[in-house]
Subunit: 237 residues, 2 copies
């Protein structure tokens, strides 16, 4: 292409300002994670546009330079429009880039990971999202497999010393449910009484006046997060 040629020429002169390079493609991709009874699953959508039309891939989109306040806003817009979700936990993961990951040319994608609480799963399903196990989704286009792996690693890493896994549950939950989420996310077994003591000492939960009997033998106290933002501890759970 002429552009590439011109760019290269320009480069030789340009040491002052190397804005002579073509701007890379910039997108945002979302790794939406949920906890199915068995394992962690990632939300995928059939691509509506080229490249890879019709294939399952991470939901994503271009930055709207006339409306998005930053890439987090882009991520939230994608979650809303393409996944039907508002108010879920969403945090920047990492930026992936390179000349080959997208057939259209040198590109970068700012990846975010989001946690889908149980009570919102139906909203996502209404948007025809497909949830595949994080180990054992088929092939994914672009470098999406790598991005999913990075998101899972982050969730596992941050999970054991923060309230992150709680965002996979609905607004209220029992201590056993919370422990179960930690166990499934971290793939460990936790001692029940130690877990209760730690959660108590960390003061991250508050009891809700009311109980749940539906899903358990003896009714259990319901709790909610004392603070809706992510809390980090300095010892492991």
């Amino acid at each position: 292409m002429q552009i590439a040629f011109f760019n290269r020429i320009k480069h030789h002169f340009s040491m002052v300002n190397d804005d002579a390079y073509e701007r890379p493609i910039l997108t945002v991709d979302i790794v939406l994670l949920m906890l199915a009874p068995d394992t962690l699953r990632v939300g995928l959508l059939k691509r509506a546009a080229a490249p890879f039309v019709g294939e399952l891939a991470l939901p994503g989109g271009y930055v709207h330079t006339d409306g998005d306040a930053d890439t987090l806003a882009t991520a939230r817009r994608v979650l809303k429009v393409k996944c039907g979700l508002s108010r879920v936990f969403c945090e920047q993961l990492q930026t992936f880039s390179g000349p080959k990951r997208d057939p259209r040319g040198w590109s970068a994608t700012v990846a975010y990971y989001a946690l889908l609480p149980e009570h919102l799963a139906s909203a996502a399903l209404r948007q025809e999202m497909v949830f595949k196990p994080v180990s054992g989704h088929g092939r994914l286009p672009f470098d999406h497999a790598k991005i999913v792996a990075a998101a899972v690693e982050r969730l596992r890493g941050k999970g054991s010393y923060s309230t992150l896994p709680a965002f996979l549950l609905g607004p209220t939950f029992t201590l056993s449910e919370l422990r179960s989420v930690y166990e499934r996310v971290m793939e460990t077994q936790l001692n029940d009484s130690a877990f209760r003591r730690k959660i108590d000492e960390l003061r991250i939960l508050e009891p809700v006046e009311g109980e749940v009997s539906k899903r358990t033998a003896r009714p259990a106290q319901l709790f909610r997060l004392r603070d809706e933002t992510l809390q980090a501890f300095d010892r492991k759970i």
Copy 2:
């Protein structure tokens, strides 16, 4: 510039979907941290090009779409060309973005943080880098103050459960020096004997046959990292 204009035109025709948006500016910025005797300092350079020509700012640059394999390659190139540094620890920090952070328009910068070991400080100084304390650099252009703060937070966060702080030292060091680095980075006091025991148990160091007497009363055993890559522990140091 003609190129920028052409890019924009080309854009208008090129797209099926919402790629109709102008591509944002994409840059890479480096937070180069070093440990002066007193505190952590960040490396700054006088900007050679607009905007903010002449002001001190983080070293950074555009992605070279004809040469860089990814943004890490861009970061390493900037470190080499603008800071005179190769082979320093360098890791992606976070991507910062928005319509206002750069007067030229909607932009994103993939920020990296790098650690400058003592024995390479002279190389950076040769490139006319200025090292300012991380709390108490003056005003910085763009959102560079925010980026520096994020880098310091990351170093502090990761520091207490990984070998990260060791990369601020030269290739060999005494246990006391290592402890001192941890203390200055984390702004804590560490118990000497506990520190020695932990470092020993973690098996991250190996002794070097030879001692240092120069900088200490009694000669101390020199150590080097057993593994040149970053090692994470699961308990705090």
